[in-house]
Symmetry: C2
Subunit: 466 residues, 2 copies
């Protein structure tokens, strides 16, 4: 194995490594990538307990896989960043508790499922404060400790976060999400063999669209059209759709996704089937069910509960497996690539492999009509020199005018309000919500959110201004 | 007089010259600008009757003023364009009748005062079809007949029209409006002598903001702040405000304008006090009255009626004066500059005078954050070489995110829907209206508008699309 010749390959720091499922996925990828053996992986989390569990699990998996990796753990962020070449951020400040409480509060003010509804979970609370503040602090630490490291931003909101960091810090940032893989589900339902299919997916994070779709080199959009016309109704009446265990398994091929395709001209992919869907699909649970199946989609009251339960189960399983040691981890979680792009990105950069990945990077002309410094999610060529965006070309005007550009504008509002600490800007954002009937309603909503105990710091940040 | 040495100074064609008040204003300006004497003015209108009245009046005024101008009249557009150096477009297709009928229809569908409400009069009906179609046809004729002429677009919507023509034709276009003069009303109420005041106003047409405001070189914004704090309430209770004969005389210094200043950080000027004001100022007549005085502003049911009556009276007066010939026109309408910028623009270009005017021209970096090919309303230096925009600089982020950029996006939607003839794009535009509760409501509204007899051509243009 060539790794033996290399003492120090590269140094990867995972911030928020206590999320066991994600750390396990990255470890599997590292073990399946001998080109990166010899590297040091530093796990960092503020919770000593969760960090210990993650470290034990990662170390055991590595040992079972025979992968040459040095695993370290620390609760000290600056120590974790020291010497890092790559920093992977997967932090969710405060967990999901505050989100649920804020949603309940918002419903009292007339906002079903919370403000920002379909994407509120990604904003990380009012004004996205907690997440953006964390990202900025982390980047400031990196500027001091490892200014040349690449920040791989995988915590939400990726769009706001990566754009903010690109504009306001010196740290090179790449955003990574896995939502673009949703095309596989579409191909499956259409009965297409994955290896014969070639796709391109582009847009903004959680708002990506199928810009190219071919089978054996021939345009496969007509197959979607035929499926809609001939098979969709039957599929939506089938148990596979109607009784799907998890709502996120069927969003990709739901009536809502098909409607978005009709309205905007390209098929929505992954999270876009929900996050970028029109507001009138989401006015209440009945309407959500009409478009997104029994549970009304991932973000509905039942869909989101199912997700949280599944997350909890997955974590319990992993933690149990790590502690029990009765069965090898490799047996429970067989070696192989997880599908996440973080390790392939690092592998390509370190070992000079040329790879096309789906990355969140500044637009710089890839999609005409979007400013250069707005972070888009597009195919990018990764080499030893880092990612270079692929010129996507013009998107349909209905999609640009009604989805992409309004979403860019929302990002600008969120980032501007955050940078200025401007509470009125938050209220004005909410005035744009269709459910807002008066300025007093929006103002009351923002004030109520900012008066919650977990928002004390945010309330001080978003000062009332003239 | 030096004009005697010049046989042909320049050739100015006025399209829609049958609007007597506007043709009179331009004639007054021409008579007060000896540097342009020797020019030919071609009046064009499709109505022979209105054209004849306008021509008689212009010719008589010219004669009384002793101005050396050749006045021609024709109902043939191509003939009118032949040899033109400047083409002034001031056409309102179909007059205001259809607008009123469309507003009444819209109210039945749940849209108080029509779709696009505060600016619907400028859009020229559903999708702005009639006006944009006319502009494009005119520019195509110019490309064939007088490709080097400058088109001075003064018909609404100036923003959509000038951007459309800049992008999709070879004709050089400049938009002109007089709304930016609203600062004079503000200065007056503040008790400031006009000649001591210096201002800059910038933004988009009907959406301009006071970017610089000084008295004797010192920042005068604090005077606005003091007026708001100490004098505004008393002023709004005074007969000057409460009993103002015309609503447009008080919009500039209304509670609505002050609220917009508070919300967005710059004082709105002219039409912006209405067109760019927030939707929640306009939910019903009571709310409009709260913000814009007794009549609820220019666009309310009573305000707009007052405007139409005043227009009709002005036209009747001018036509009567032109026919009666009992009193010299010069006595009724004394010589002097009207305040319109069309003739000063031509004068500066023909005679090489350097002049700062407020023009609608492509942005090209004047306001950061707006694309280069979007037409902005900004101060511009005019010389023999034509207008050159003055770099305005960054506008406040609350103003950009909540007013300017959403208005740019609306322009893009209107222009894209028009160029594509896309009915669904019109429906999607309306889905963005706070009063829209469902897709069916918006679709029904658009279909109802396009089924009106005066919209037959528009209905054929905006085909239903998948």
């Amino acid at each position: 194995m060539f790794c033996h010749y290399v003492v120090q390959m590269t140094s990867i720091t995972i911030i928020g490594a206590g999320s066991a499922a994600f750390s396990l996925a990255l470890t599997r990828d590292l073990c399946a990538t001998p080109g990166l053996w010899g590297s040091t992986v530093t796990l960092m989390d503020i919770s000593p307990g969760r960090l210990e569990i993650a470290k034990t699990m990662v170390e055991q998996y590595r040992k079972e896989a025979g992968a040459e990796l040095t695993i370290r753990g620390t609760t000290d962020r600056r120590a974790a960043l020291k010497g890092a070449d790559f920093v992977i951020c997967c932090v969710k400040i405060g967990g999901y508790g505050p989100l649920e409480a804020e949603r309940a509060l918002a419903e009292k003010h007339g906002y079903y499922r919370g403000i920002g509804d379909r994407v509120s979970c990604y904003y990380g609370g009012v004004g996205a404060y907690h997440q953006l503040k964390f990202f900025l602090d982390l980047a400031r630490d990196m500027e001091a400790v490892c200014p040349d490291a690449l920040l791989i931003e995988t915590a939400n909101p990726v769009f706001e976060g990566a754009t903010l960091l690109t504009r306001h810090t010196k740290i090179r940032t790449v955003g990574i999400c896995h939502g673009h893989m949703g095309w596989k589900r579409l191909a499956e339902v259409l009965g297409l063999e994955e290896k014969r299919v070639s796709v391109q997916v582009a847009g903004l994070n959680h708002c990506v669209w199928l810009t190219r779709f071919t089978v054996d080199g021939r345009d496969a959009y007509p197959l979607i059209d035929r499926w809609i016309q001939e098979d969709a109704e039957r599929f939506w009446a089938s148990p596979e759709y109607r009784d799907a265990e998890f709502p996120w398994l069927i969003e990709q091929i739901s009536p809502g996704a098909v409607d978005a395709y009709r309205l905007y001209g390209l098929f929505p992919i992954g999270d876009a089937t929900r996050s970028a869907s029109p507001w009138w699909h989401h006015t209440d649970l009945d309407e959500k069910r009409k478009w997104y199946g029994r549970d009304g989609g991932f973000d509905s009251e039942t869909g989101w509960s199912a997700y949280l339960s599944k997350c909890r189960r997955a974590i319990t399983d992993i933690e149990h497996a790590a502690r029990a040691k009765d069965i090898p981890l490799l047996t429970r979680y067989p070696p192989g690539h997880s599908g996440e792009q973080h390790i392939p990105l690092i592998d390509a950069m370190i070992n000079g492999r040329e790879l096309i990945l789906e990355l969140n990077i500044p637009n710089r002309g890839a999609v005409p009509g979007i400013a250069d410094d707005v972070v888009v999610e597009i195919p990018a060529l990764v080499t030893a020199g880092g990612p270079q965006g692929v010129m996507v070309g013009t998107l349909p005007s209905r999609l640009m005018d009604n989805v992409i550009l309004p979403r860019v504008l929302r990002m600008e509002s969120i980032v501007d309000a955050f940078m200025a600490g401007d509470r009125t800007a938050l209220v004005l954002q909410l005035m744009d919500d269709h459910r807002t009937g008066s300025f007093a309603q929006a103002q009351g909503m923002i004030d109520a959110l900012l008066s919650q105990p977990w928002n004390t710091e945010a309330a001080a940040h978003y000062r009332a201004q003239r």
